[in-house]
């Protein structure tokens, strides 16, 4: 299902940033960090104030019409042909993979396809389009990476975030042997099947803790809200942060 | 004539048509001459089958040793098959040799003996497959199907020259689609199960042991 993006012919000078509603409300610092990283690479970063939600929650619950109405608002908010950078593999997957499906047979199908082709997940864009190089300014730290299901399986993000982490000289990356296993978030799944979701996140925490890392870095705030919320409830003293925030804090542009 | 048939087919025909896609290429493995037999052996051995190199003239002696080591007293063979002829000639006059039992009746008259008395069965394999470590049994009136299934030990004789790289290769080379017999079985080891805690156990219903005798060309038989 994954439709890995292709590198644009020319390095763009202006990009859109789609913050995602979860980042907007709960983790704005992650979004801001993503925008700063892009800006530091010399890009003009445009954040349309008209943006809201990618529409995934309604689509995943089967409310396609409601989702389409919201998606159309995003079409309107991102009119220029610039790349759209998303600090979430899940929202990016919705926009890149599912918009064309959601609008199949609709009058604005072509618009949905064109929009989808402009969508990039942040870490992928940093690695493949901007070839980001970082100088580590931080203290030695051991971290582990949490990969989101949709970043891996819809956006085809495999090693990019870990490559960025490994490029930081003072950062030791300990991989989680259960990295590919879902954390149990799944949007409404976490409240429709709360006990199954709870069992999944409990196992996820155990596997994250077992890495011995002092911090968990991730590229998706949905997973982070789930995992860090469960860690906090369980009294696990581990910090979690979005990749963009982590990179911005540690890395100086080389 | 048949209502269910008519209704099922008409519902299927009423459904919207979908494209008939072309079949994309896939790459079944190809082995060099030397690697082919090595693969055949490795794969079989990984499944707890034994593979022995033999030559066309002396394999019955080799088999004798293998069966003696296992205490086999009754060996089932095809009725009037070349394998049977060669065995009879090689073992004749040998009082300690296992009893040779021919599958010379229909199963209904032979069931008791087949199910409870026979220790081992020997069949000819029409071909081998290197990729998966398999022999192909193409049962005939002479060498019926149960010979390779009911006795606790199954011995398959296969000529090295008939070992193909893959099932795909073999099927194409032998034109299976035009001549499917009553039954063909691809056998890749002794009967096994992992139904209890994914722990492998052998001989759950069929043979506990599979012995593959590869008839090598005289020069290379070792």
């Amino acid at each position: 299902m994954s439709t890995a993006a292709s590198v644009p012919a020319e390095r763009p000078s202006t990009v859109y940033f789609f913050g995602t509603c979860l980042v907007d409300l709960f983790y704005p610092e992650a979004g801001l960090a993503g925008m700063e990283l892009l800006k530091r690479e010399g890009l003009r970063v445009v954040f349309p104030q008209g943006q809201t939600c990618c529409g995934q929650p309604a689509r995943n619950c089967g409310f396609f019409e409601e989702a389409r109405t919201v998606v159309r608002a995003q079409f309107a908010a991102f009119p220029e042909p610039w790349p759209i950078i998303v600090p979430s593999g899940s929202c990016a997957g919705m926009m890149r993979v599912h918009y064309p499906q959601l609008f199949a047979g609709e009058p604005d199908q072509a618009q949905a396809e064109a929009f989808a082709s402009r969508v990039y997940e942040l870490s992928w864009f940093l690695v493949h389009v901007l070839d980001l190089k970082l100088e580590d300014k931080g203290e030695p730290v051991t971290v582990t990476w949490h990969a989101s299901c949709h970043s891996m399986r819809e956006m085809g993000i495999t090693d990019e975030p870990k490559r960025l982490l490994r490029s930081l000289s003072n950062v030791t990356l300990v991989e989680n042997p259960r990295e590919r296993e879902c954390c149990g978030f799944g949007g409404t799944f976490s409240v429709r099947q709360p006990e199954v979701s709870a069992a999944m996140v409990a196992d996820k925490i155990a596997s994250v803790e077992a890495t011995g890392a002092s911090e968990m870095v991730t590229g998706d705030c949905g997973c982070m809200m789930n995992i860090s919320g469960a860690m906090e409830k369980a009294g696990t003293p581990m910090r979690s942060r979005h990749l963009a925030e982590f990179l911005l804090e540690r890395g100086d542009v080389r | 004539m048949n209502d269910a048939r008519t209704r099922i087919l008409s519902r299927l025909r009423a459904a919207p048509p979908s494209a008939v896609p072309d079949l994309p290429e896939w790459d079944p493995p190809v082995y060099e001459q030397a690697a082919r037999l090595a693969r055949f052996r490795t794969m079989f051995e990984a499944m707890k089958a034994e593979v022995h190199d033999v030559d066309a003239a002396t394999w019955p002696q080799r088999l004798r040793t293998l069966l003696d080591n296992r205490g086999v007293r009754a060996l089932l063979h095809g009725d009037g098959s070349p394998v049977a002829t060669q065995l009879a000639a090689a073992w004749s006059g040998d009082e300690n040799a296992p009893e040779l039992v021919a599958y010379d009746r229909v199963v209904e008259d032979f069931k008791e003996e087949l199910v409870h008395r026979i220790d081992a069965g020997i069949t000819w394999a029409s071909a081998g497959i290197a990729e998966t470590g398999s022999v192909v049994l193409w049962p005939t009136a002479r060498e019926p199907r149960l010979m390779s299934l009911l006795p606790p030990i199954h011995i398959a004789l296969v000529d090295e020259s008939t070992i193909h790289d893959t099932l795909a290769d073999l099927m194409a080379a032998q034109g299976w689609a035009l001549r499917m017999p009553t039954n063909v079985v691809v056998v890749s080891g002794p009967s096994k199960t992992a139904d209890i805690e994914q722990t492998l156990a052998f001989g759950v219903h069929g043979p506990k042991e599979l012995i593959v005798l590869v008839i090598r060309k005289a020069a290379s038989a070792g």
Binding site: M1, G19, L25, P28, M35, V45, V46, F47, P48, Q49, T52, C53, N60, G62, F63, F64, E66, V70, R72, A73, C149, E181, C182, G184, G186, F189, S190, R192, Q193, V196, S197, A198, A202, M225, E232, K233 | N2, L9, A15, P16, S18, A19, P24, W26, V107, K111, E112, V115, A141, P144, A168, M171, A172, A177, T182, N183, K192, E197, T199, A201
Partner: protein
């Protein structure tokens, strides 16, 4: 119409059209608190995932093979009616009698008629998921015919009076202590043991006698080849070969979607099925049956019957998106890799087909009114989609079924469509739509949440479910919208 994909023990037809529905959350609660069960599944699934991965070391080769496998099944489905006719013609020429059944009831009746016509009293069975759909053993039992499962796993659960919890490894939920106990209780002269070889030997002893005395054998079909009329069965134990060779009569049951066009389709599918299922390069036996015993041959059944079962498949077929469900080759890789299945086990699904494939198949066959909760019992993590050897878009079909359950398609593609609709949920999404389709409203709303969100009590649904094991999400003091503007990021 039917709830035939649900387990017999739990389907209660109240006679007024109301059928007891699946209760995934309730059953999950029980399973999640069953420590041995969770350990059994975790151990088994971890092992199966590792074994499968070892079988497909090269991603490029696997991609080509999956594309081939998917295309083979896609072609077969596109040509299904003509291929079914071709299969029937070839089988008939070969001496195999072909029967058609629209419902499981019809299929059961066909099998019973065949058996009664031959005075059959005992039957040995190879593993067959379609016969589970039919609840065939129970049906035959009611008519005085004893059907004995001969696959070790199926035999174990038959002794325990349970349903399979996995489509390939039916007793995967049990450990050797439980099985040792079961054998000691049910097999005469068998002492309690945890030794797997000894347990296996005990089963061999019991089954040998059963095979020898059986009047007929029943099997499923993994692939039926239209070109030659050949039935292809894969197995490791040899019980399938026994059931289809030793008794004088063989009845095979198959879903109408199990067809392929040609013999040449078999090798790539065999390269996918066992490797995806159990991580083995091939099964011990690939058994290809093309005709009953011919004159002069000394064994094999004198008669073979093939029962083609619809049981709702034609309805699935009628919708092009849902049709992709029918590509399934029943390998079970989707459940082996499912993080939900690994934790709750197969019985939680309360259906013949558990796991991801069950979550899309059961609601389509039994109806959304029966199994509305199954499409929602997924985090849409796509692990199943990633490993499916025939590339069934399981996650997309789950979402499609969620849609059918709240807003049925004009074609009423799925029975019981609309049964998941509630006013409260629909209103919530309408509200969500208004908020998110109107940027000004959105900014006002999110601004208010930033300022006052901390006042929302954690006991309010759905926060209550969320906070059972997590802290309440903390609204940031300022939204990203506000921060972006403050930091001078352009708006256009």
């Amino acid at each position: 119409m039917s709830a035939e994909l649900k387990t017999a023990a739990h389907v209660t037809n109240h006679g007024n059209g109301h059928v007891t529905v699946t209760n995934f959350a309730g059953r999950a609660h029980v399973a999640l608190n069953d420590k041995p069960l969770r350990a059994n599944f975790r151990r088994a699934m971890d092992g199966l995932m590792a074994k499968r991965a070892a079988q497909f070391p090269d991603a490029g080769d696997l991609a080509k093979l999956r594309a081939r496998g998917a295309a083979i099944k896609e072609r077969a489905l596109a040509r299904l009616p003509e291929l079914l006719e071709q299969l029937e013609a070839r089988c008939t020429e070969n001496g195999i009698k072909v029967h058609w059944a629209e419902t499981t009831g019809e299929a059961n009746r066909i099998v019973l008629d065949i058996f009664q016509g031959h005075g059959v009293r005992t039957v040995v069975k190879g593993k067959s998921m379609v016969s589970e759909e039919m609840h065939l053993n129970a049906f035959l039992g009611e008519h005085g015919i004893e059907a004995v499962e001969s696959d070790l796993g199926e035999y174990i659960i038959q002794l325990a009076g349970e349903m399979p919890s996995h489509i390939v490894m039916p007793c995967i939920h049990k450990n050797k202590m439980q099985i040792g106990q079961l054998f000691a209780e049910h097999i005469e002269g068998q002492r309690y043991t945890e030794d797997v070889d000894e347990l296996t030997a005990a089963a061999r002893r019991v089954m040998r006698a059963r095979f020898a005395e059986a009047d007929a054998g029943i099997s499923g079909v993994n692939f039926a080849v239209a070109e030659t009329g050949t039935l292809v069965l894969v197995e490791n134990e040899g019980n399938g070969r026994m059931s289809t060779t030793l008794p004088p009569l063989h009845v095979a049951v198959m879903g109408i979607e199990k067809l392929v066009e040609t013999m040449a389709d078999i090798p790539p599918l065999l390269a996918l099925l066992p490797r995806s299922a159990t991580g083995q390069p091939i099964t011990t036996y690939v058994n290809m049956i093309t005709s009953p015993r011919k004159p002069g041959e000394k064994d094999g059944p004198q008669e073979i019957h093939l029962v083609l079962l619809d049981n709702g498949r034609t309805r699935v077929y009628a919708d092009l998106e849902l049709r992709e469900t029918l590509r399934c080759i029943r390998c079970g890789a989707c459940m082996n890799h499912c993080p939900v299945y690994a934790r709750v086990g197969g019985h939680t699904y309360d259906a013949v087909y558990p796991g991801p494939i069950g979550k899309i198949l059961t609601p389509q066959i039994a109806g959304l009114d029966v199994a509305e909760d199954l499409p929602h019992a997924s985090s849409l993590c796509n692990a199943c989609v990633e490993v499916c050897p025939v590339k069934i878009p399981i996650a997309d079909i789950l979402v499609r079924l969620r849609r059918e359950s709240v807003r049925p398609s004009a074609s009423q593609a799925v029975k019981g469509g609309g049964s998941g609709w509630t006013l409260s949920e629909a209103s919530a999404w309408t509200g969500w739509k208004w908020l998110n389709a109107h940027p000004l409203l959105y900014r006002m709303g999110t601004g208010v949440l930033s300022a006052l969100g901390h006042l929302i009590p954690p006991s309010m649904p759905p926060l209550k479910a969320w906070t059972s094991v997590r802290t309440k999400p903390k609204f940031a003091a300022q939204t990203l919208h506000q921060l972006a503007r403050d930091k001078g990021f352009d708006d256009e």
